[in-house]
Amino acid sequence: MESRLLKPILAVYVGLFLLFLYGPFIVLGILSFQQGPEGGPQFPIQEWSVFWYKHILGLAPPSRVSPLPIGISLTRSLTLAGMTMVTSTVLGVMAAQAFRRNFKGKSAAFYLIVLGMIVPGVLVGLGSALVATTTGLERHWYSTAFATHVVYTLPFAFLVMLAIFNRFDASVEEAAWSLGVPPATTFRKVTFPLIFPGVLSAMLFAFTLSYDEFSRTLFSSGREQTLPLAIYSTFAVEIHPNVFAFGVLTTLFSFALLTVYAILMTLSVRRAKRVAIQEAV
């Protein structure tokens, strides 16, 4: 009785959820095929074309719409995201590993780390810009912005790893120690392979969060813009469908990233399942 009513309600709910999640993207995707260079970022579609995709790749004939300044900023953003991913994940794993033991000031340290994702980004960006100006430090995407990105993404990597370690059966480590294997080797050969699915998730979090970070970067990156800043600055003048085309390409890139993640995850979850089976017996 209850489930007969519940099921359609849930179905509608899920439908709405998907609509809100993907609706904007679908509109964006359709508009990216607007005719160019005269076609604007609105319906109706005057004529279907791939002009704006060509425009992004620099294959379209010159027109009054200037090309998106994405080449260099994309490289910057990817490099920054990569640097942030590695640093935050390494620090996150290490911090979570430290939190497996009890130490003085543990809860204070916890909130201090997590604060990085709670404080408003604009304030952090502004603050770091001020600090840089006062100390005479030059602002760059690879220095000041990098630091704010790490502060922002570290808590995510840390929390992911904390959850992973929470479910981790420490007796395999103890077994290794009792066989005479030193802790460092044990971590490398036993702990790390078993927590690897979590490390992957932490990496994905750190990468994506850094890749589209805006508010912190705005003030802390100096003159050289990252991709979100570059796109925003073109909005400030006039919006053309080339931004939409670029959005589609970025999303496809994200999906590619997710696919790689999913493949790696399946491989290591298969292993994790084996652990679970072993524990259950």
């Binding site: 007796s171 395999v172 290794a176 120690w177 066989l179 292993r271 072993q278 017996v281």
Partner: protein, 367 residues
């Protein structure tokens, strides 16, 4: 001569102030099979983990082969541990699991591989050497865990409820294997369990623990027949406990004033003071059930003392064993077990009977 393992006044207090282990003293000879037995939370696993080096000790000393190892990290101690959940490395094959402890030791590859193959063969798991541990049975995992620990040739093997995860039949057979293996290798085993049948069947000596303290250290038979404390008398076997007060103590024999009059038992090395509150513990197996009309002279002639009156509360038969619960007044009913054929005429429920035992079967338990 030094012992394999010595624990001298070892104590452990947790950070929050709760004591886990209090004043633990034990000396273990080489090749001995020691069981730590007690209810959960009694400190037996903590003690084992202190020997392994996974837990720090708050006071006292732990010595292995005469050397103090209090501050030695786990990987430098000559111990290896078997875990209840086996703690096999799921991402390695059986052979890699077994080889893992040897990999960090500086030994030549041929010698290392020979050692691995020898132990795999000894435990009969050569044919699953290339399998991952995940799909294997509990018994096979148990053997892998044993092979992995024994291949590094520890002085002392520590086993934390290693049979707990196995089903009853498998437990019996692995139990026998374990005993044979230990005899053959001559390695000292320290075994933690909450199942008294395991401890009684396997070990040379049993350390009974309760609330962080050692209650008694004895060989299984002695522990079973001669409990020293009230806790042991209640925890091990099925003892009838008759409370009273010590009225006389001489020559190893002790007389208690009880609700059934004066009863005599063995002090078994204990030195009670006259007037002490104490109980007599009588193993259920030592108690005979007699018809109420049995003449006193016969009883005294057979058992060397009087019998006590009881009323049969319930009778149950499990296979060839008959269990009788007999009420003896205010105390918990006495459980008596005997073979079906022992008494020709069975006793009826609610029947008045006499319970008698040879006087030296009763042991003094000081409160």
């Amino acid at each position: 001569m030094s012992y394999d393992l010595e624990l001298i006044n070892v104590g452990k207090v947790y950070d929050n102030g709760t004591p886990a282990v209090i004043d633990f003293n034990l000396i273990v000879n080489k090749g001995e099979f020691i069981a730590f037995l007690g209810p959960s939370g009694c400190g037996k696993t903590t003690t084992l983990r202190m020997i392994a080096g996974f837990e720090s000790i708050t006071s006292g000393d732990i010595l292995i082969r005469g050397k103090v190892i209090n501050d030695q990290p786990a990987e430098q101690r000559p111990t290896a541990m078997i875990f209840q959940n086996y703690a096999l490395f799921p991402h390695m094959s059986v052979r890699e699991n077994v080889r893992f402890g040897l990999d960090v030791k500086k030994i030549a590859k041929p010698e290392r591989d020979a050692k691995v193959e020898r132990i795999l063969d000894k435990l009969g798991i050569t044919d699953i050497g290339d399998h991952r541990p995940d799909r294997l049975s509990g018994g096979q995992k148990q053997r892998i865990a044993l092979a992995r620990a024994l291949v590094v040739e520890p002085d002392i093997l520590l086993l934390d409820e290693p049979l707990g995860a196995l089903d009853a039949n498998l437990r019996k057979s692995i139990q026998n294997e374990l005993k044979l293996l230990q005899r053959r290798l001559g390695v000292t085993f320290v075994f933690v369990t909450h199942a008294q049948s395991e401890a009684l069947a396997l070990s040379d000596r049993i350390v009974v623990m309760n609330a962080g303290r050692i209650e008694q250290v004895s060989a299984p038979y002695e522990l079973y027949t001669r409990p020293k404390t009230l806790f042991v008398a209640k925890f091990i076997g099925r003892n009838a406990l008759i409370p009273g007060r010590v009225v006389a103590f001489e020559g190893g024999g002790v007389t208690l004033d009880t609700m059934f009059g004066q009863l005599v038992g063995s002090a078994h090395g204990q030195t009670p003071g006259v007037g002490d509150a104490a109980s007599l513990a009588v193993p259920a197996e030592a108690i005979d059930v007699l018809p109420l009309e049995t003449p006193l002279e016969t009883i005294v002639a057979t058992y060397g003392g009087p019998a006590i009156k009881a009323r049969v509360e319930s009778i149950s038969q499990v296979g060839h064993i008959v269990q009788i619960a007999a009420a003896i007044g205010a105390e918990a009913p006495v459980l008596v077990e005997f073979h079906v054929d022992k008494y020709a005429g069975h006793f009826a429920e609610r029947a008045e009977v006499l319970l008698a035992w040879r006087r030296d079967a009763a042991t003094l338990v000081v409160h």
